[in-house]
């Protein structure tokens, strides 16, 4: 399966960004804004949670 562009968000600064995601590969990710590695793929649930918390 080819990689797709997905939205990720940073758990440190809250920045959202697009990055390639290949489900078969685990790659090192970092936030383009703050450089943190606490980067998570945005899912409908995480989006809702972030909105609720104001992040």
């Amino acid at each position: 399966m080819a990689s797709e562009r997905k939205t990720f968000y940073c758990l440190r600064c809250g920045h959202r960004f697009l990055a390639d995601l290949d489900p078969k590969q685990v790659v090192e990710r970092s936030c383009p804004e703050c450089g943190s590695n606490s980067v998570r793929r945005e899912t409908p649930a995480s989006k809702q949670g972030a909105a609720k918390e104001g992040g």
Partner: protein, 634 residues
């Protein structure tokens, strides 16, 4: 090569591929496919009569396509064994026989069209991986006109053109009209030191190779004029600066700047190069008869085809650095060792290097391998995984996550528990962290030891603490670097050292939150620095799962942070800790209390579930210190 071929204790398996390797140091088993060469190498006396009658002509790879070879051929003059070889892909066909002329003329009757591949099962104690590198393909650098203009060649092609054993027998001519070129340009760093096209690193050998080629030209063709376009000339190494100076004395013109375009005169096939001389700041135009691209070196992709066939790198689970070359166990202290014990590197598989360096490394690799073989036993760290058989559910996860092949898979069908091979175990603890039944005891980094540290950290003023798990090799060392560099970072950060971040079990994270931690950090090596091949990828997967669970339980995932910090990144360590302290201050006591309630409730649920399904955990087995397979001691 010839010495190796003649050595009574060296068995050369040419035209062969490694299909599988199992086992561990001292006890490896390699499955090797020796491909059919269709010519009896022992009987063949290289009379060449077969090649003379062969009607097939294909480009000769060894001569870079400047001449042709037959379907039956001697790969190169110094080939060992010095026997002809029939390339089945090029032959007109021998099943049924379409031509058969070679067999008709072979007086020694050494051609056998019925030959088949042979599978060899070899028992070996150690493995030296020397699968080399590949030259960079300069076609993406279209501004240089490679393949568009016949007189633009690579340094490898130049080597064949000027070589006495080359297609022109040392008569140096240019490809378009077979005329001896007088004006020769060399473009350095083609494919090297470029972030956009090629590779970002310096390929190490190109500068000295060009200097050598300029000296050859000056020696063989005194009327030739060489110009070298360069970024920097890197002539470090014994005697190299002298060679560089000699080329300048011989009249080689060095121009700092890489050409922006190359055009060809369609009639004469001469080449016009436009370049900015970065020393004078002027745009210059130069005309050449021949242009040589000093192409860089790129990692060899191995023999894997991405499908069913695996490369040696994949078979041995070799880790790679960011540049694609294999990663050593330690860049300074174990530069020829792979992370897996008993596996060593030689040559350009590890990084681009010249002949002298390759020979040095090969000698070191052979010595390292010899040490193990002659000792008959290995000494290992006592930090290894141990199975608690009573708790094992034979789920096979431990074997699946182990990149060191240190776990022999369990079998429910045969009622076999997984077998842990201590001689192969590197002690990362990933298996223990991934085991859903807590059936693996990690010596010296046991669950009880780590949870005790968490409890000690959070025993007093937990709201003012950050529980940070740091791997021994990178993050913890990064903290040391920050300390020795006198960099300030908040005292709220309390480190718990594990050998690898892969050891950080999800239950440690939950235990920290349940004990009142406002913030937890999991930190380890960058992916390309991981000392345990790919254990760090399991860390990331695990933290991602923990984030998802936190979200489901109504705990902010932001309170679990992940960071990759190398040993050299003391500044990053200090900066990250300051950022985390800011995050910690935003966590309220009410939020922590709510988290504790949620996790306590979950824990009770888990306990009830476990009580109904699993047996009580026995204490860890005493360690008798025996290392399986080699009779050594831990």
């Amino acid at each position: 090569m010839m010495d190796a071929g003649r050595h009574p204790r060296i068995q050369l398996l040419v035209n062969s591929e490694v299909e599988d390797i199992t086992g561990f140091v001292g006890n490896y088993r390699a499955l090797v496919r020796r491909k059919a060469r269709y010519v009896d190498a022992e009987a063949c006396n290289s009379c060449a009569e077969c090649a003379e009658v062969c009607p097939v002509a294909v480009p000769d790879e060894y001569q870079q396509g400047f001449s042709s070879r037959k379907a039956i051929y001697l790969p190169f003059p110094q080939a060992v064994p010095a026997s002809y070889f029939l390339n089945a892909d090029d032959c007109l066909g021998f099943n049924p026989i379409a031509c058969g002329k070679c067999r008709e003329v072979c007086e020694k009757e050494c051609i056998d069209f019925d030959a088949r591949d042979e599978l060899l099962d070899l028992e070996v104690g150690t493995i030296v991986v020397a699968t080399g590198m590949a030259p960079y393909d300069p076609r993406p650098n279209d501004e240089y006109g490679y393949t568009r203009f016949p007189n633009v060649v690579t340094s490898m092609e130049f080597e064949r053109l000027i070589c006495a054993g080359g297609p022109t027998e040392g008569e140096f001519v240019r490809p378009s009209d077979r005329r001896v070129p007088e004006r020769i340009g060399f473009i350095q760093c083609v494919g090297s030191r470029s972030a956009s096209r090629g590779v970002p690193y310096c390929s190490n050998i190109c500068c000295m190779n060009t200097i050598k080629q300029c000296l050859l030209l000056a020696d063989h063709y005194p009327d030739s004029r060489s110009t070298v376009f360069y970024l920097d000339i890197r002539a470090f190494g014994k005697g190299f600066e002298d060679l560089y100076r000699r080329t300048r004395e011989e009249g080689v013109h060095y121009l700092r700047g890489l050409p922006g375009s190359v055009d060809e005169d369609p009639e004469t096939h001469d080449l016009t190069v436009r370049v900015e001389n970065t020393l004078s700041g002027r745009l210059e135009t130069h005309r050449f008869d021949l242009l040589v691209l000093a192409t860089g070196l790129v990692p060899h992709k191995g023999n894997g085809d991405g499908g069913g066939r695996r490369s040696v790198d994949e078979i041995l689970s070799l880790a790679h650095t960011a540049d694609g070359f294999v990663m050593e166990a330690h860049p300074k202290l174990q530069p020829v060792d792979a992370p897996s014990r008993g596996v060593y590197f030689a040559g350009c598989i590890e990084s681009p290097k010249d002949i002298k360096e390759s020979v040095t490394q090969a000698g070191a690799a052979a010595a390292r391998a010899g040490n193990v073989l002659s000792a008959g036993q290995v000494r290992i760290e006592a930090i290894t995984a141990q199975l608690l058989p009573e708790l094992c559910a034979q789920c096979k996860i431990c074997a699946q996550v182990c990149s060191f092949n240190a776990v022999v898979e369990a079998s429910k069908r045969d009622d076999l528990l997984p077998e842990f091979i201590e001689a192969a175990c590197a002690g990362c603890g990933t298996c223990a962290a991934e085991c859903p039944f807590d059936a693996i005891h990690m010596k010296h980094f046991a669950d009880a030891q780590i949870t005790a540290q968490i409890e000690a950290i959070l025993a007093e003023e937990p709201m003012r603490k950050i529980v940070a798990f740091a791997c021994n090799w990178c993050s913890y060392a990064g903290g040391d670097t920050a300390g020795t560099s006198r960099l300030q970072y908040p005292p709220s950060v309390r480190l718990i050292r594990t050998m690898c971040s892969g050891r950080v079990d999800q239950k440690f994270i939950w235990h920290a939150f349940r004990s009142g931690a406002p913030l937890v950090l999991v930190s380890g090596c960058h992916f390309s620095d991981c000392h345990y091949i790919d254990a760090v990828t399991w860390t990331q997967r695990r933290v991602e799962k923990a984030w998802t669970r936190m979200e489901k339980l109504g705990i902010r995932p932001e309170r679990l942070q992940l960071e990759w910090i190398s040993a050299a990144e003391g500044r990053k360590f200090a900066r990250v800790m300051k950022e985390l302290d800011e995050l910690r201050r935003r966590v309220t006591p009410e939020e922590v209390a709510e988290t504790r309630r949620i996790l306590e409730r979950e824990e009770q649920k888990e306990r009830r579930k476990r009580a109904g399904t699993a047996p009580t955990a026995p204490p860890p087995q005493p360690d008798d210190g025996t290392v399986r397979g080699l009779g050594g001691t831990a």
